[in-house]
Amino acid sequence: MSTSVPNSYRTGPDDTGLFGIYGGRFVAETLMPNILELEAAYAAALKDPSYAAEMEDFLEHYVGRPSPLYYAERLTEHLGGAKIYFKRDELNHTGAHKINNVMGQILLARRMGKTRIIAETGAGQHGVATATACARFGLECIVYMGATDVERQAPNVFRMKLLGAEVVPVTSGRSTLKDAMNEALRDWVSNVDNTFYCIGTVAGPHPYPAMVRDFQSVIGRETKEQMQAREGRLPDSLIAAIGGGSNAMGLFHPFLDDASVEIFGVEAAGRGVDTDEHAASITGGRPGVLHGNRTYLLMDEDGQIDEAHSISAGLDYPGIGPEHSWLNDTGRVSYISATDDEALEAFKLCCKLEGIIPALEPCHALAKVMEIAPEKPADHLMVMNMCGRGDKDIFTVAEHLGVKL
């Protein structure tokens, strides 16, 4: 594994889609022409000012950007250390950061003349965001969702249907997010002509990891400007939760070359990384190849992919974006993990102290803020990405707290 320090952490991937040894294009031949077409279309869009202008307009007026950078004063007082800010991406339209990426991809799909959009979803947030954008532009939308997730995320399934999407429960494999992604790839292989695959995270074959990162980087760019305006300087640390890793990559990427900024990615440790029920690919996995890219994966000694577990359906994936794998090996970002129980404690604290009901995903980051912030001085500026709101999770939380709704 490459451990030499690069001149910049922001130049990847290379022409073949690699971040160090991670990433790549491990897909069936049927999909290669599509992947190459997408790569060319995205490169052309990046050079077209009208694409950027259209994106900016929708982000401002439809998504509601910029999202606030909020000083979490009572949490700061309670923890008694670093000054804690929340980047409020849960205030976006549809309630999470997912829409940033979806707008970028759907506007690109329109430029490419694609009329049929497919997506995979775990918790349903990416599915809802995709269904939303498809409704807005009158595009056919098919969302693949593990049958297990369809059951435990009923409100989001209903939202998607209201928005006109067809939700396809996936019963192949073990009926969760990774199987939904397999099924979406099978759909794409079968409908290459008119179909655009809108991937929800910084994973999959090149150019998805880089493209999704670019769309999500609006989070980090805004944070940089807002912190400059509020405090007149860079933050000292950033922290975000990681499933596939798109909200984290969006916050981190603009800061990767600011050496003074400490960066933490928080994986889901489920019932503990020493058990076989977790979703911490870097902490508890090793490099392998799945869903079009080489990256850290949870698997057995024969290379068969393991099921992930997390209280948060959005983190319940046995892999992680390839750029995170590279940032781990180079040492630029520290990857740590939080358990289900730690996330639940953070959830309760955030509701009580800040009047914000957070999604269970950012609660994993918040759990580590609770550990790290007290060790830092009062002038340490820490930014946590509040990447989703918790309405979707109240049933799960109630169940864990033993409350009947």
């Binding site: 491990f26 069936a28 031949e29 049927t30 290669m32 392998g288 068969q304």
Partner: protein, 278 residues
């Protein structure tokens, strides 16, 4: 690069006989090691000219429900890469002529270790590899090291592989070209014979390698139609379905498992053999 593999010898021999090759796919270890080995050993006698042996994987993204299920059955019965190679080794004690092509996905090979895999596969008597998620863009991973060690690396060409991309797909391909007759997953809609024949001719304009056609071939009639234009016909999902239909409620083999599959293999082989090559 790899002259004289069993695959090349078999295609040359069949060409001399004026007929296409019948290529059968089964998943190693489905529904269990012993039944699977028994089936493997009986396939040539029932008419299989070349055997594709699936290396089971939890996440076969290009395969349809039939082959996904067969992969899971094999894994549930304890199949792994070591046992798959062992199965080939045991097959070779009784058959030194029928080519064996291992087919699957990259991760189990990557985790086994590429160099060790190539050495062990060759040693076991494997002749070629088909790795679905390794397009030419990733040739340095496995294709080139495998070719250097004398294994054939068989590539899939698809209806989306246009004349511009074909040369890239054909570079470093050896043994034969596997033409996927539909854009889709294994076991899906039936191929249109005239379109397939047209595509086979198109590929043949770019290469001297034999072209075998698969995906969606289920009946002797379809097999015969495809054999009229192609150098080989691949049948997979239909055989795997025949295995599934013969199992008991716990997915275990019954007395009818091996005979049922072999009967279907014989019928399909007749379809291929009754065709005049073009």
């Amino acid at each position: 690069m790899s002259s004289g593999t069993r695959i090349e010898a078999r295609f040359a021999d069949l060409k001399a006989q004026g007929r296409a090759a019948f290529v059968t796919f089964v998943t190693a270890g489905d529904p269990g090691y012993d039944t699977s080995l028994e089936l493997l050993r009986a396939l040539p006698g029932a008419g299989a000219d070349i055997i594709e042996l699936g290396m089971p994987f939890t996440d076969p993204m290009a395969d349809g429900p039939a082959i996904q299920a067969s992969s899971l059955r094999a894994l549930n019965a304890g199949q792994n890469m070591i046992k798959t190679l062992q199965m080939v080794r045991e097959f070779r004690t009784g058959d030194n002529d029928t080519p064996i092509v291992l087919m699957g996905y990259y991760n189990p090979i990557y985790i086994y270790g590429v160099d060790k895999f190539i050495a062990d596969a060759k040693d076991a008597g494997v002749d070629g590899l088909i790795v679905v998620d390794l397009p030419p863009e990733e040739d340095h991973e496995l294709c080139i090291p495998a070719l250097e060690q004398g294994l054939n690396f068989i590539r899939l060409a698809t209806p989306t592989t246009d004349d511009k991309r074909l040369p890239k797909v054909l570079t470093n391909t050896s043994g034969f070209v596997y033409y996927v007759s539909v854009t889709g997953i294994t076991g899906s809609k039936a191929p249109d014979i005239s379109q397939v024949n047209e595509a086979v001719s198109r590929i043949k304009r770019h290469t001297d390698l034999p072209v075998a056609v698969g995906f969606g071939v289920k009946t002797p009639e379809q097999a015969s139609g495809i054999a009229s234009g192609a150098d080989g016909v691949v049948v997979g999902s239909a055989l795997v379905n025949s295995i599934r239909e013969s199992l008991d409620a716990d997915d275990a083999a019954t007395d009818s498992t091996v005979p049922n599959v072999l009967k279907l293999v014989s019928e399909l082989a007749q379809g291929v053999r009754n065709t005049r090559g073009t």
